[in-house]
């Protein structure tokens, strides 16, 4: 009995050590390694045709500002079409889209979706046929792209191997609540350190589903977007990688977003991410482990760790349960096991951004004051730990169910809200 508990405990400790080492490697790389961004200076080119898809389900609070920002981009007008996907909206979204389509009949071409499966993946799948543009970019409706962002995101596609590109997400409603400030820190670590380190090291940066895009021929090669997933971004990342395409992260291609301002909204968001990511884990761990010839060994290792990133929370909880159970069974575990569990908790709870990654990211961003909030991250990470673990347990208990529950992220922006000004 004791052995039956000890073996999984040590296995969990081993996994946590691997994740901890990975986080340290990424952080050290960002602090001392070569910054790799080969495509960011492509400022002049014969720009290809681009379609920007903006999935919208009841987005009346934010969609107008998003469209204004896209219309102000410096991408050649004749090469750019904006396709807001009106996904069964019941608020004023349809009216706003009709207004823009009327004023910009060539540049804004809404795609109206009356039925079908709910969710962003299904909406993208249906709307994909609406354009034969070479590059399909995707933005969430609450995002505010800068003037030069479209060109920056399209630049990497001049590399024939690049199948998807991801930019950096920067929260703009930072000053609202403690949660928004913590999410700002988490994003800093996740993008500035984690994603860029994977880019630097030639591993697998993740296409994040927004502030990015996919090459249309690659999408067709993959069979289009899958509508049976809650995380179409993770799904397409691994399908592209397995098929021989490259995914690129570009840290300088920043875009403002609105992060959740209350905990229930945040919990729903991260539970959806966890379920979607776990779907991808179940689907792609074996094809990845078989290592297609074009993939480097370290890329495979990183890919597996990336797939398992939302499984770390439940594993950690299980580790603590096992450790406590063994303690009460009279098994004297070495202090090292407890230390590792504690350190791992500290360094892997952030799933995408460990504490030291956040600190390094804030330093690289040159932000001083916000780094003082670092101790409070434990609050956000504990909430994430419980949410992700619960979502995973429910998912495992109902694995036979095919229907997907799509939780839309709540929007908080008020009419006339201040928009961050252009810098640079």
């Amino acid at each position: 009995m004791r052995l039956a508990l000890l073996i999984p405990l040590y296995a969990i400790v081993a996994v946590l050590i691997i994740y901890t080492v990975r986080h340290y490697l990424f952080t050290l790389n960002r602090l001392f390694g070569r910054h790799r961004q080969p495509y960011v200076d492509i400022g002049t080119a014969a720009w290809p045709r681009v379609a920007v898809f903006v999935p919208c389900h009841n987005e009346e609070r934010v969609i107008a500002q998003m469209l204004d920002a896209l219309l102000a981009c410096d991408y050649p007008e004749r090469q750019l079409v904006i396709i807001p996907i009106n996904d069964r909206s019941s608020d004023g979204t349809s009216r706003i889209l009709a207004d823009y389509a009327g004023r910009f009949p060539v540049r804004v071409a809404p795609f109206h979706r009356k039925g079908g499966k709910p969710g962003k993946a299904a909406a993208l799948k249906d709307a994909m046929e609406a354009s034969d543009a070479a590059i399909h970019l995707v933005f969430d409706a609450d995002y505010l792209p800068g003037r030069g962002l479209i060109k920056q995101l399209v630049g990497p596609f001049f590399d024939p191997e690049v199948g998807a590109v991801m930019g950096r997400v920067v929260p703009m409603n930072v000053n609202k609540t403690l949660l928004t400030r913590l999410l700002d820190l988490e994003r800093t670590g996740g993008y500035q350190v984690d994603q860029q380190a994977r880019m630097n090291l030639g591993l697998i940066p993740q296409y994040g589903g927004t502030v990015g895009g996919v090459r249309r021929t690659a999408l067709i090669h993959m069979g289009g977007w899958r509508d049976d997933t809650l995380a179409e971004d993770t799904d397409i990342t691994f399908r592209l990688i397995l098929a021989g395409w490259e995914v690129v992260y570009q840290n300088r291609s920043e875009c403002y977003e609105e992060v959740p301002e209350n905990w229930p909204s945040r919990i729903r968001q991260i539970k959806r991410w966890a379920r979607g990511h776990n779907q991808a884990l179940a689907r792609y761990w074996w094809p990845l482990l078989k290592r297609p010839a074009h993939l480097r060994r370290w890329a495979v290792v990183d890919g597996l760790l990336l797939l398992g990133v939302f499984a770390v929370g439940p594993l950690l909880l299980l580790g603590w349960v096992l450790a406590v159970a063994l303690y009460y069974m009279g098994v004297q575990l070495s202090v090292g096991v407890y230390v590792i569990l504690a350190v791992a908790m500290y360094s892997t709870l952030g799933n995408f951004a460990a504490f030291f990654e956040v600190a390094a990211g804030a330093r690289l961003d040159g932000s001083r004051g916000r780094i003082r909030l670092l101790p409070f991250l434990i609050v956000g990470f504990l909430v994430s730990l419980v949410s992700v673990s619960w979502a995973t347990l429910v998912q495992m208990a109902t694995f036979w169910r095919k229907d997907q529950l799509w939780d839309k992220t709540e929007r908080h922006r008020e009419a006339g809200a201040m928009i961050p000004k252009e810098t640079g």
């Binding site: 014969a46 920067v170 930072v174 920043e254 916000r370 409070f376 961050p420």
Partner: protein, 351 residues
């Protein structure tokens, strides 16, 4: 009971002590603005020049009528000292020491400046201007043609509405732009240039491709299609005069023989080498180096993570086909021409 409570209180205080900065930042935020990292204009190479021109237009418009024409020494409305000369550079009097101009300079008539001048503030030329040899400029905005003498140095940026000529052995820091063309002399060092046409010496135009590439090239058997391109493991050499009709991704190094043509784009995980008169209609990407032979032509952007070398009379892009050449280090031989932009954060050099 009291000692226990006191001890408990002290212990809690001791535990909370390291958290004081966190609580302070929470209660009295000092850093809550969205990160000012969203640089909406970083890709626009003439960004600083455009901003300067807008600033100067506003300032000039606010000047009194008598300060609008002719030679003038005074201050702009924001207090910036400036001097305007109309007929001769002799009017550029020196306030502090000979050879050093510490005022914003407006050149109102076509003129040639003296050698060895140092301009600590911006120069605005409303008429064609030729700078003297060995001069140092903080920044220059020229409405029309601009010539920089030999051994000139530009510290921040320079822009010309007309053609900009750069004398040999000059050093150009920051962003250099022209609405028409930049013609570089030999041994010029620079970081970033944007113009419809950038050439080292005389422009030669796109090399003629007729008469080459008569026979199609059969890719090796292990090459396999991925979407719209073929992937080749290991190195690949395309023989002289061969034609490849698709895009290629090569896991090793790629060599394109003399006169060979690739109809699509190419990428190599190591080096790409284009022999003399080779042609690639799309882009060329390498994780290490791109070496372009004499009279070769590339239709799209050229990207390398280490170094790019453009041979004599080689051309990137075309008059209707703008392109970017980007790598940490770039070398351009005499006659090399780029239609669009060159970006080399660690430095580019002509020879």
């Amino acid at each position: 009971m009291l000692p226990f409570l006191a001890l408990l209180g002290l212990t809690l205080l001791w535990l909370l002590l390291p958290l004081l900065p966190a609580f302070r930042e929470l209660v009295r935020p000092t850093d809550v603005a969205p990160l000012k990292v969203v640089d909406r204009s970083s890709g626009y190479v003439a960004y600083f020049a455009r901003n300067f021109r807008q600033y100067l237009d506003r300032q000039m418009a606010a000047l009194p009528g008598e300060a609008q024409v002719g030679d003038y020494v005074g201050k702009l409305p924001d207090g910036t000292q400036f001097i305007r000369v109309r007929k001769s550079s002799q009017g550029l009097t020196h306030e502090v020491e000979p050879g050093t101009q510490n005022r914003l300079v407006v050149v109102d008539g076509a003129m040639t400046l003296q050698d060895g001048e140092t301009f600590l503030m911006e120069v605005y030329a409303r008429a064609p201007m030729i700078g003297g040899a060995g001069s140092v400029y903080r920044a220059i905005y020229a409405d029309r043609e601009l010539g920089l003498g030999e051994r000139s140095t530009v510290l921040r940026w320079a822009h010309a509405g007309g053609t900009m000529g750069v004398g040999s052995h000059s050093v150009l820091r920051g962003r250099i732009t022209s609405d028409q063309a930049v013609v570089l002399g030999a041994n010029v060092v620079f970081e970033r240039i944007g113009a419809p046409r950038i050439s080292v010496g005389t422009e030669h135009g796109i090399p003629p491709g007729d008469g080459f590439a008569a026979h199609p090239f059969a890719l090796p058997e292990h090459a396999h299609p991925i979407g719209d391109h073929y992937r080749v493991e290991g190195d690949l050499e395309i023989p002289a005069g061969a034609r490849v009709t698709s895009s290629l991704v090569v896991a090793g190094s790629l060599t394109i023989g003399p006169g060979a043509v690739v109809e699509g784009s190419v990428k190599a995980h190591r080096d790409v080498e284009l022999a003399d008169a080779a042609r690639v209609r799309g882009s060329v990407v390498a994780r290490r180096r791109v070496m372009v032979g004499d009279s070769a032509w590339i239709g799209g952007p050229v990207i390398a993570e280490e170094r790019i070398r453009l041979g004599q009379r080689s051309v990137v892009g075309g008059p209707e086909l703008p392109a970017t050449v980007s790598a940490p280090l770039i070398e351009l031989a005499a006659g090399a021409t780029v239609y669009g932009q060159i970006s080399a954060p660690l430095g580019a050099r002509t020879f």
